[in-house]
Amino acid sequence: MPHFPNKEEKIHRSAKQDLFQAPDFYAIDDLLSEEHKLIRDSVRDWVKKDVSPIIEDCAQRNIFPRHIIKGMADAGAFGPQLPAEYGCGGLDYIAYGLIMQEIERGDSGMRSTASVQGSLVMYPIYKFGSEEQRKKYLPKLASGEMMGCFGLTEPDHGSNPAGMVTHFKDMGDHYLLNGAKMWISNAPFADIAVVWAKNEEGKVRGLIVERGMEGFTTPETHNKWSLRASATGELVFDNVRVPKENLLPGVEGLKGPLTCLNSARYGISWGVIGAAMDCYDSAVRYSKERHQFGRPIGGFQLQQKKLAEMLTEITKAQLLCWRLGHLMNEGKATPAQISLAKRNNVDMALHIAREARQMHGGMGITGEYPLMRHMMNLESVITYEGTHDIHLLILGMEITGENAFV
């Protein structure tokens, strides 16, 4: 059974105030519109009010805080880049990135829920779905009334999704779906799943599978040390009858899921800046407060080196994302450019989380500070949506024209 809080199990609200202040060393705010800043600051305020006080308890006890879905939807986290006519934000990719940044500043697990919903469920329905499918699902997904998940990875096919074995047969008036997906974010509570499976000709197609369809189950994955406030599970299809109108008509082949991943990976490149900024902010504050050998630890060169390098890397990542956002807005961003940003920024954030954790000494391993949580979360982020190595291979192929995957 998925682990959701019931009335008996109250989530503890921490009284500790979230004092986060974002570094903006290169005045990148000047490159944003007033509306971008308003959106960013509003999400930041919402995270401070509704996410920061509960996230540590949720992560420690492995609870997905289902009650904040509504707040996330109100903040615009679900498909902000999709058109307003379907109940979405109709915003640009910079706004989308900023929203992901602020949510991940709170927690990568929360951002994962938003990424999956917006980029991996709503986006394919918008891009490859029929008008009926768009109208049926998008407004409810945007408002959080309906939640979705995205099933690509399988137990034996992770980095190599082309090898997938999940498949469906045309039975005349419906499709019969069989197989299993693994590591699926939001699976335990999702109302619908966008599932990628092979048809009888071996072509990958997208199907919308709804909770309640016979033979469809979503067992939860337990004992994660990472993304503990996000629910992960399997999708098991045992002779599931899927109505024909649930096939996404607009795409065939791996291009379908990979297009969604591009959008999500773009959001991750921004999101992890949030996690990195949170670690940096905590480290700066701690370096001024914590005294050893009669002075603040921030006075020691070794600690200053860490802080200086963190700020350098965050600033570089901010500029990278800002430029990539404009390329996305112009429809010019290439998958390889997105790979570069995802790979660079996740690695940057993970490194900063580790360094910041060390700067907090023993306190850094406790839930008093967000470091260890961010650090463990980022181990998933560096793995999902294409591992660190896989993005390197994508870049390598872009540079040399040689495929080093197989």
Binding site: K37, L38, I39, S42, W46, D74, A75, G76, G89, G90
Partner: protein, 239 residues
């Protein structure tokens, strides 16, 4: 509604300590005004009516006015004058509001920049309306309002007929954060800029100075009273 430096601003001065240094300062809606705005929205949502935000200030404060619209105000008016002191601000608002027949005008108890706390009272006087200061609870029933205000050492509950002016204290309500829908709606809400009526400031800032730096703090374990006494006696020489 006034627009003030963010509460985390590092305050510094220029021109031989005669001017506040605005370089790099982020501005926010005055927190007490945010509470006024939210309470006004709650009241109109329950009973009908519209909320107009009135701001005296220059164009650079428009992002904050736009935020007020995103929070939910129906329209906004910016009186295009520098808000140099409370006499000017109150007079300008009064000039503009005099013929508008508002049922209720809410201000903050003070702006958190200069903390003058005079605008609401002056405004009520100009308009010839009752003024209820430092209100922490406000309900309206028909043409009459019940307000709880903070007084020295306690609370006072007053009843007042509409229209009136009240100033918000911090418990009035919890300020709202703009949501996506509000931000999108704010794009098309009217923000009207009007010329000032020519009110002039009565005061002038002569100079500023920073409060003296706080001394270092020494922490002593609770069960170590002897050490505390020794420090107070031998080092601080106060006992």
């Amino acid at each position: 509604m006034s627009v003030v430096p963010d509460t985390t601003t590092k305050v510094t001065f220029t021109d031989n300590n005669t001017k506040f240094n605005t370089a790099g300062v982020q501005y926010i809606i005055n927190p007490y005004d945010e509470m006024s705005l939210t309470r006004a929205l709650e009241l109109t949502e329950a009973q009908g009516g519209t909320v107009t935000v009135i701001h005296v200030g220059l164009a650079d404060s428009e992002p904050s006015v736009r935020k007020a619209l995103a929070i939910g105000a129906h329209e906004a008016v910016r009186i295009n004058a520098e808000a140099s002191d409370a006499t000017l601000v109150a007079k300008e608002i009064a000039n503009w509001a005099a013929d508008k027949e508002f049922d209720l005008i809410l201000t903050g108890r003070e702006s958190i920049d200069y903390n003058g706390g005079m605008t609401g009272g002056l405004l009520a006087a100009h308009l010839g309306l009752p003024f209820v200061n430092v209100v922490s609870k406000l309900d309206i029933n028909g043409g009459e309002a019940t307000a709880v205000r903070d007084i020295d050492g306690g609370k006072e509950t007053v009843q007042v007929m509409l229209p009136f002016v009240a100033s918000a204290q911090k418990d009035l309500t919890e300020p709202r954060i703009p949501n996506m829908r509000g931000i999108m709606a704010a794009r098309s809400k009217p923000l009207t800029v009007v010329d000032p009526g020519g009110a002039s400031a009565k005061g002038q800032h002569q100079s500023y100075e920073m409060p003296p730096a706080k001394g270092a703090v020494q922490l002593i374990e609770p069960d170590n009273a002897a050490e505390l006494i020794s420090i107070l006696h031998n080092e601080a020489k106060v006992i």
